[in-house]
Amino acid sequence: MTPQEWQQYRQQAAQAWRRVEDPQETIIWVSTDSGAYASGASHTLDAVRRFVAERGIRAHVRITASFGTTWLEPVVDIRRPGAPRVTYGHITADKVGGLLESVLLGNDARADMAYAAWSEQPYQGIQPLSATNWWRPQKRVLLARCGAIDPESLQDYVATGGYEAFEKALFQMTPDEVIAEVKASGLRGRGGAGFPSGIKWESARGERNTPKYIIVNCHEGEPNVFKDRRLMEGDPHQFIEGLLIAAYAVGAKTGYIYIGSEYPLAIQRTRLAVRKLYEVGLLGENILGTGMNFDVKVVPGAGAYISGEASAAIYGIQGQKGMPRTKPPRSAEAGLWGKPTVVNNTETMANVPHIINNGSDWYSTLGTEKSPGTSVFSLAGDIVNVGLTECEMGITMQDLLFISGGGMRGGKKYRAVLAGGISGGALPEHTLHLPNEFNALEAEGSTMGSGGYIIYDEDTCMVDLAWYCTRFNRSESCGKCVPCREGTASQLVMLDRIRQGTATERDLDRLVQSSNDIIAYSLCGLGQAAPIPTLSVLKHFREEFLEHVREKRCRAGVCRFEHARDGQRDGDSFVVTPANRRIPLVATGAR
């Protein structure tokens, strides 16, 4: 496509988008992403289409992805001419008829089924979205298009300012200027480690060895982190645009998008997006007549969490066992096929178009000095608003969990939040004033990680939590190094003894000791983070451990102490699980 043809495409897209903004026509949006589908959204969509066709209603039915309100799925949005868009929650197929009947034909906005109206003022008794607790603390940058556009349409993306940043980079900036801009923005990696992305790009650009590669790490195997998933399912072109800009800046010829096999819909939508880009000529040879060549391949993973680690992802793409390796050399020097490679997280890439469009000055006004920008948090567990929320970095835990997250479900008492997911630590109530930014939670033994927060109420046993996290790390350990492979296994035994009431207080000291050893001598981030949940629980909830050990009492009523016999110990060669089954202690990585 020549630049002129591309401008024509852009105009066509804008033309088509007018239909969405057109107030003459009723629009019905049905949210379709994996969370919505799990709740039955495909049946809802069918029912909506059937209703509209059978009643001969003039309405435009569109699909979108969720804008973050996963707990409301299946979500249907309706905008009638002259009225604001209204979001309705829990619209399973059987409720579609009743809803559409009254809203479209009966002139009743059904405040009883509505969550919020996208207006400044309340509408027919429906609260405005901006007044909801969930929305109030948010600052939407990356999720701005989620819920607004059809994720399967390139036109929608282009009509809402898509690929403008890529054009700007390509036609108005040199690669060095792009890198300088990203560096100045202070963008830090969202995959967990928070490494400055501009520096990574710069060192890959400086390498002589060619060809160079870019990998977008969409593996996200950590339980209860689903922000990358929603970014892929809701707005796949956004991070692909970031990838194109990175390719231009670094001088790469091929990009890989590495997606975990647990994410079939994300793979499907990303593949579709890539195919459309080839069709319009934004991928392939001589992109927009500039002589830039760039290919993108979408590569599926195969269900190993450890393959999300950057060097393991490289082996995974090369069709090998996804095990991390020692560094140096860093991937920027010798990565995929031994060539300079940049590995960035999906959300990191999704930030890039916004930085190029609005400039690094704008970007640094968001968030905090050390962690600029916004971050997408996945909230799950015993909390009301299970789903996504995008807030500026530095928002306090209190605001994040109790305002945007809606607080505890069923009036239960807060016990802990597992911040940063399985590789982070549990934080008790008195730490909720802490800000969410890189390196702020470490003092309390936790981390922001990739922004997946799981909230637990008083019915959760903290020993069980430590056991669970250790089991996860144990079974996902790749087995390459002894401290991680055997250390987590022996911790699992110790924690299980505590759960069973057969431990002594010395076991607690041993746990700390072995944790420190595992952290010190493991090769990659999995081993280095594996004992963190245990240590954080020992630090903040020590009295619960002591209750288990001394009194054989579990205040949450989870541990049954069936094996507790005073002065006696279980054998060390196996672990007794709650189902009283033996888990052999060999490295299988079995799921």
């Binding site: 197929a93 993973g301 069709g319 567990g381 299970v386 669970y468």
Partner: protein, 185 residues
């Protein structure tokens, strides 16, 4: 090849192994491989294994050997990959595939209890297949990104949740063909 067939029958009860070792099967593997022409064999390996597993429900050893020969990938490397990744199975699967989510939300909201109920009802442990070849049971350590439905199970790529033990029991008694209220992922 015939004695192989007996071995397979033994190991998965009454059900027929989808891989018979016939020329037709071998051709099918070759046609999967042809779909990756122009790719670096190593880059194509994992996607090809996924396709093979889609076809047969697992990675038959003979099929893996064909890949190894055709693509000049040492068999040890190839079997290393097959056994490293949790997605790939080396045994035929049951007709129904039941995953119990034990992600960090489902685990604390009743996932293990569902798992225990399923294990007791089907009389197998995680990772095993019933002798009649009807059910394979697995534990999901990942999260389905649908924690609002916790605790949930995934039956033949359809998510059900939140479930009680009894509801799970009824689901196992009557696995729905085209379930309401949920969707193929």
């Amino acid at each position: 090849m015939d004695n192989n067939a007996t071995k397979r029958q033994f190991y998965i009860g009454g059900i027929e192994d989808p891989w018979t070792g016939s020329q037709q099967d071998r051709d099918r593997v070759l046609s999967i491989l042809r779909g990756f022409e122009g790719y670096d064999p190593l880059e194509a390996l994992i996607p090809a294994l996924h396709e093979l597993q889609k076809e047969y429900g697992y990675i038959p050893e003979e099929a893996a050997n064909i890949i190894s020969q055709e693509w000049q990938i040492p068999a040890t490397d190839l079997f290393g990959v097959v056994t490293f990744y949790a997605d790939f199975r080396t045994e035929p699967r049951g007709r129904n595939m039941l995953w119990i989510c034990e992600g960090a939300a489902c685990y604390f909201m009743g996932g293990p209890q569902l798992g225990q109920a399923a294990q007791e009802k089907l009389k197998i442990e995680y990772g095993e297949t019933t002798l009649d070849g009807e059910w394979t049971l697995r534990r999901a350590d990942f999260c389905y990104g649908a924690c609002h439905l916790a605790p949930l199970v995934d039956l033949n790529h359809t998510v059900f949740g939140p479930l009680s033990k009894d509801e799970l029991g009824r689901l196992i008694d009557n696995p729905p063909k085209e379930p309401e209220g949920s969707h193929k992922l």
